[in-house]
């Protein structure tokens, strides 16, 4: 099993390196999973390759998520989890973003299913996706301030936000 996944990895890495020397900045192998770290400016092109290339065929974008490594820099890691249904393979594309400009090209033009996934990351982590057709908050209320999944956002929230209970007691005579 592990041998098989390594073979697949080398195919993917070879195809992407053969296409452009700048396509991959790092390859991480951990617990049988492959992570390809991609420079921010080529993410969409690499994604296009991964989906369209006859030998890769990553046709399903299964997940997109973000990790906040505050206070380290680059602070954010955006992970895209890809599946190739015909080849039975998985791959993780990772982009690292610094805190002063947390923005990256949207992958909605490549996989329309990225739409809500990227909206969720925007909502909870505050990453901007350039070229996203509808970048609005999705889980939090539209007038919410801050991005709750960031590490500098307290787990219990900000206490000065009035709760329903405090409103109720305040309005009573």
């Amino acid at each position: 099993m592990a041998e098989n996944s390594n073979q697949n990895t080398s195919v993917v890495v070879e195809r992407l390196r053969g296409w452009s020397a700048n396509a991959i900045s790092e390859v991480i192998e951990f617990r049988g999973e492959t992570t390809i770290v991609v420079p921010r400016n080529v993410l969409r092109d690499v994604a296009e390759r991964c989906r369209g290339d006859k030998e890769l065929q990553f046709n399903l974008l299964t997940d997109a998520t973000c990790v906040d490594r505050y206070p380290l820099e680059p602070r954010f890691e955006v992970n895209y989890h890809l599946v190739s249904i015909p080849r039975r393979d998985r791959l993780r594309l990772q982009v690292r973003l610094s805190s002063d400009d947390p923005a990256v090209d949207s992958l909605v033009p490549v996989w329309p299913g990225a739409n809500w996934l990227e909206r969720e990351i925007f909502d909870l982590m505050g990453i901007r996706f350039n070229g996203h057709p509808d970048l609005r908050r999705i889980l939090m209320p539209e007038d919410w301030e801050g991005h709750p999944l960031r590490k500098d956002y307290p787990v219990e929230g900000y206490r000065d936000i009035p709760t329903t209970a405090s409103r109720y007691t305040r309005n009573r005579p």
Binding site: E33, T65, H81, P112, W116
Partner: protein, 404 residues
């Protein structure tokens, strides 16, 4: 009925076409929770649909970051509340992957049996509520009758009917109690006939066919492009099932089929789920034969898995480990892992990132309902308002999972 013939409202007949915006939900019985959909209607036709959610957002992913790895299991129960065992399993698989833990075969088989029982119970709730949405009241009562039997098994095995937290990191919370085999046997004997009964009520029923056939069609290409998984994708003709494609928990040792269809409408998805219930029964039958009467139900990993009670009374190390696990927790090596299972709704993935501390740096749930719901506008735009109900039901959303 085509769009042209259906939209002969007064406005269109007089040349003054006007659309109306209808707010469906969040408190609407057929949205299965608190889903709100903004519908732009032209007569009875849906022009545009915008799903709006977040009413049940409880920040479970944030809360997980503030708990130790073991404590977070109780939160996973509450994401997809129709399939808590599936959530436990996905989360534990991710943490086990991060730790590099091997789970004993016996525990893997027990996990498979429990998760397949859970799949049947989840499909039963789906079938019952979907049928009640479309006007077949009695199916709901029958489905819940059988679901009750499954919940009784869960209560017997795990002590809880719904929020079981039975699957733990490295194995299970408890060993199976005496008499479990008879209970499951009894259920297996009863269930096939009951599934036939549901089919008698629905499959050939003219009203059922009228409400579901050719309703909510989506092509296989669109379904993949929109990241849909689970029965919806299989009804579109793609045999993508994590149990077969990326086997976990020894699923590769079980014989079962992945039902697919090509009609990709509400009726097709109904047939897929019914067929899946039968396949689950097959898997449970095989699991019964595989589960040995005695054997370990969790792995041995000092410092990660709590030691046995008996050992704590005789060995000092065991006592120290017990104390450390329940005060500080354990610290996996820095890294990240993504584990997926086939939940009743599709591919449930859990992403766990560790920075080497006893609390996870990040836990993310790839919630199949959330992502499948994304295709709802595609299913209903240009169709009748009544079909919206059928389409919401057929995606099988659980709002707890959508909003997390």
């Amino acid at each position: 009925m085509s769009i042209q013939t259906a939209s002969t409202s007064v406005e269109t007949a007089t040349g003054q076409a006007k659309t109306m915006v209808l707010n469906m939900g969040p408190q609407h019985p057929s949205t299965h929770g608190v889903l709100r959909i903004l519908l732009e209607l032209d007569g009875e036709n849906v022009v545009k649909a915008i799903p709006d959610m977040g009413y049940l957002h409880t920040g479970i992913e944030k809360s997980c970051e503030d708990k130790t790895y073991s404590q977070a299991i109780t939160l996973t129960d509450r994401i997809d509340y129709l399939s808590p065992l599936g959530n436990n399993l996905a989360y534990c698989l991710a943490v086990e992957k991060l730790l590099g833990l091997e789970v004993p075969k016996r525990a893997q088989y027990i996990r498979v049996m429990m998760v397949e029982l859970q799949r049947i119970s989840s499909h039963l709730v789906w079938l019952g509520t979907h049928a009640i949405d479309l006007g077949a009241m009695s199916v709901f009562l029958y489905c819940f009758r059988e679901r009750e039997e499954i919940l009784k098994i869960f209560e017997f095995v795990a002590g809880q009917r719904m929020m079981t937290s039975y699957i733990r990191i490295g194995g299970l919370a408890l060993d199976l109690p005496a008499g479990w085999r008879q209970r499951v046997e009894k259920f297996l004997k009863m269930m096939p006939g009951r599934i036939d009964e549901y089919e008698d009520l629905l499959t050939g029923n003219r009203i059922w066919i009228g409400r579901t056939k050719d309703v909510g069609y989506i092509s296989a290409e669109d379904a993949v492009a929109l990241s849909m998984t689970g029965p919806t994708l299989r009804a579109a003709g793609l045999a993508y099932d994590n149990r077969k494609v990326f086997p976990y928990s020894s699923y590769d040792e079980f014989q079962f089929d992945v039902p697919t269809r090509t009609d990709s409408d509400c009726f097709g998805r109904y047939m897929i789920r019914v067929a899946e219930m039968r396949e689950s029964l097959k898997i449970i039958r095989q699991a019964l034969d595989k589960i040995a009467p005695d054997g370990p139900f969790r792995t041995e990993a000092p410092g990660i898995i709590p030691p046995e009670r008996e050992k704590m009374k005789t060995e000092m190390e065991a006592l120290i480990y017990h104390f450390k696990i329940f005060t500080e927790g354990f610290s996996p090596a820095p890294g990240q892992a993504f584990a997926t299972i086939e939940s009743p709704r599709g591919e449930l993935g859990v992403f766990v990132a560790s920075d080497g501390s006893p609390k996870p740096l990040r836990v993310h749930f790839r919630a199949p309902s959330f992502i499948n719901l994304q295709a709802l506008p595609k299913l209903i735009e240009g169709k009748l308002l009544a079909d919206v109900i059928a389409c919401i039901g057929t995606i099988d959303i659980v709002l707890g999972e959508v909003d997390r």
